[in-house]
């Protein structure tokens, strides 16, 4: 992850590349110009409005009932979690100022900040935390419900500022799944007694504890927030106002950014990178995490139930036949890196580079296919594979058809809308190859496990699409989730990565990164977080 780039000149010069000399020269000239040099590095200022473009309409502002990207991008700025995540996705205090974990790893005790108030002035207490989990998060927040529902035994509140969570066994990943995106805390005094929190009126007039307060919502058009003057983090937020603008078309969003109508765009596509680099008056940043999913890997699944994909050699051959450099360059336009296995390299505590690699090698691919007895017919075709995919992956479809075609594998490329593709792969299991952007969260237990655990071979989206079943892997995941020692956990995950890359039930293509574009007078965004604007400020603010 590359956090906020401090200043365009410096960043460009240090990034190197062909333009490096030019930038260094430019910096020198500027440094020698007294008037410009006098400005120096700007100091953070208070005030100003940030206009943010988002691709779709949030519809409501209750982050506890959904995992939707758009809802979280907007609502997270108005709420908090018990724990935040820093730029390296390590837990940092948010609503909880400190915590203790029992020696057996079953009991987590959180000590809440005493100075937190809801936007309507009511004090925030441990009762809000208990209520949020029991009545809303564990029922309606799909990831938290699926992840904690089975292992969380109880939540107790011995006093107003203490929350005790007890688990059925040791539970290691908890601290990384309590941030404002995974487990936002909502006010008990507002939602208590409401039969159905998903349709509550309060979802349209949100009351949170977060850095910004709700002002107005024009459906399909924009959401206006203003600074929470009583925010519990000293000196924050710095901006006066944040306006979210719904701009469905990525090109329109970029044009609005260029014309100055928008200051920050979430919905930048990789194809726009070159355009952005040609606009000297715009900054770009990439982040491997966002409220829509963290550390995502574009992953292809083999349907292991279909012949001849049940043969290891065939899977190895197909992996060798893919030119992932070209995918990274031509589809992602460089935003991301080539994946080496099931755990993203950005998850530094758990990633292991000690894995079997599958470099692009069409010769080797053809040898392996020959060995597997798949020889070309009179048309040069060894094998035909059906590849249904969401239309957002059309460009992958084209490249994969071409690259597999080169080694004699015909690909029937079927482009569908997201919903139809999900049905076809996960429900109907009518595919040979599938492609999914599996997002993994800050801990392998949040996202990685569901893809490989044999108990997760089931007809729901983002489950184990390959139908990969290996009791050893299942057991390693179980142990890793219940081991508190960080080194032991890392060792378990390293072993999992070693086994999976040897078995290749999936092909890990690209670790994707989200691209943000913004106007250069804005600084200090947390691009990876739902709290992206908490620390942001603008040079345009009136003194």
């Amino acid at each position: 992850m590359i956090p906020q780039q401090p200043s365009s000149f410096l960043a460009r010069a240090l990034r190197g590349g062909p333009g490096r000399l030019l930038w260094l020269t430019l910096m020198l000239i500027i440094a020698m110009t007294p008037m410009v040099a006098a400005q120096g590095t700007p100091e953070p200022r208070d005030g100003g409005t940030l206009v943010v473009s988002i691709a779709s309409d949030p519809g409501h502002f209750n982050p506890a009932i959904t995992t939707g990207f758009t809802q979280h991008v907007v609502a997270d700025s108005m709420f908090n979690g018990l724990v935040g995540l820093d730029a390296n996705l390590q837990p940092v205090p948010d609503l909880a100022e400190s915590w203790e974990i029992s020696d057996d790893g079953r009991v987590y005790t959180f000590y809440l900040r005493p100075d937190v108030a809801w936007h309507d002035g009511m004090p925030f207490t441990s009762a809000d935390v208990k209520f949020s989990f029991e009545e809303v998060l564990l029922k309606y927040h799909s990831r938290t419900a699926a992840g904690l529902g089975a292992v969380l035994e109880s939540i107790e509140t011995p006093d107003d500022l203490t929350v005790v969570m007890t688990f059925t066994g040791p539970y290691a990943p908890l601290l990384r799944r309590l941030d404002v995106t995974e487990a936002p805390i909502i006010p008990k005094h507002i939602y208590e007694g409401i039969e159905d929190p998903t349709t509550a009126e309060a979802n349209l007039k949100p009351v949170g504890t977060g850095p910004f307060k709700f002002v107005a919502y024009a459906q399909g058009d924009q959401v206006t927030l203003e600074a929470n003057e009583d925010y519990f983090k000293e000196g924050l937020p710095r901006l006066d106002r944040v306006v979210f603008r719904v701009i469905p078309e990525a090109n329109s969003a970029l044009q609005a950014l260029q014309s100055g109508e928008v200051d920050y765009a979430w919905n930048v596509t990789p194809a726009q990178i070159q355009l952005l680099q040609a606009s000297p008056d715009l900054e770009t940043a990439t982040a491997s995490a966002s409220p829509g999913g963290a550390l995502c890997i574009n992953t292809m699944a083999f349907n292991l139930e279909n012949e001849p994909l049940d043969q290891l050699e065939v899977r190895q051959a197909i992996y060798h036949a893919l030119d992932r450099e070209r995918m990274l360059e031509q589809i992602q336009f460089g935003a991301g890196k080539i994946a080496t296995g099931p755990i993203s390299s950005a998850m530094s505590d758990f990633y292991s580079a000690d894995v079997t690699a599958y470099p692009y090698d069409p010769e080797r691919a053809m040898e392996l296919l020959d060995d597997a007895g798949l020889t070309p017919d009179e048309n040069g075709v060894r094998l035909t594979l059906v590849f249904p995919h969401p239309n957002t992956f059309d460009r992958y479809g084209e490249l994969i058809r071409e690259q597999l075609g080169a080694v004699g594998i015909a690909v029937e490329d079927v482009s569908l809308d997201f919903n139809a593709a999900t049905d076809r792969v996960f429900l109907d299991r009518d595919f040979d190859l599938a492609i999914v952007s599996y997002c993994n969260g800050a801990d392998p237990e949040i996202g990685v496990r569901r893809v490989y655990d044999s108990r997760n071979i089931r007809p729901i989206p983002f489950s184990n699409a390959a139908a990969y079943s290996n009791p050893e892997v299942d057991a390693l995941f179980d142990e890793a989730a219940t081991t508190l020692n960080a080194d032991e956990r890392a060792a378990h995950y390293a072993e999992i990565q070693r086994i999976l890359t040897a078995d290749v039930p999936y092909m890990w293509l690209i670790e994707t990164e989200g691209i943000r574009a913004f106007r250069p007078e804005f600084h200090d965004f947390k691009h990876w977080s739902g709290h992206f604007a908490e620390t942001a400020w603008t040079e345009n603010a009136a003194e």
Binding site: I65, T67, Q219, Q222, E261
Partner: protein, 324 residues
Amino acid sequence: MAAHLPRYLLRRVLQAVPLLLGVLVVNFFLIHLAPGDPIYLLAGDGGDEPYFAAMRQKYGLDKPLPVQLGLYLLGVVQGEFGYSFAYARPVFEVIAARLPPTLLLMGVSIVLSTVVGVWLGVVCARRPNSPVERSVLVATLLGYGCPAFWLGQLLVLLFAVRLGWFPVQGMVNARADYEGLARLSDIARHLALPVATLSVLHLALVTRLTRTGLREELGKDYVRTARAKGLPTPSVVNRHALRNALLPVVTVVGADIGTLFTGAVLTEIVFAWPGLGRLLYDATLSRDYPLLMGIFLLVGTSVILTNIVTDVAYAVLDPRVRYT
């Protein structure tokens, strides 16, 4: 005609009820039988079986389709249109919030393109084979062939990004809280480019229809009689011939008003206009069944009603038309 009109209207409205029911039933099965599941959207990148089961039950998706349809129709009769899955709010409210921007965009565009189109048509018909006519006809041909998506982007690049005369997107300025007149002029500025995009296609159609119709009428005997009586040309054209020439234009405008609510999906997307066309598009992608049904109901009703109104307008324009 006058005496028969009330009975005629009553009959047409009564006929509309089974028609609308048919539209709802067919659409209901179409959207439910399409692959995909609305729960995918709600679950996002997560969820397990208990979660999926609980959500299906909560939204009544676990019941057999005919039962779901029956419950939906029963609700509609009582004025209950259900809850949108994505918005978690009553369908009626969600649609109502998106109606004014769409009506504004489509209304202005239809009025503008019809008035200008009829005027251009008259200009052409009165100067057959002149350079004016030829250039208007070529321009309308180009206009009719332009995809809205492409034209919209082009207008944005030129008039918004390059020249800075108009905003790129949206309905109001995000940085200012305008009130009163200032707000109106802000909306008008935002309206200019999407209206221009939408009007081009419609304008071309109206211009050509008016021109063709008027030229035909101008060659008829009654026009010659009027001229022989010494009526001035504007009076002949505008009061006598144009009235007859406008019949096909009324049909086209009527059909456009029918699709008023959803006719501008692409334009609304390019200009980030917060209207109903975009809502329909989003609802389709997310398989938001209740919201889709609500929009179908609205569009179905409006098409049927405008058809009735168009037929009545015919009678006003052409006394030969009789209703029984």
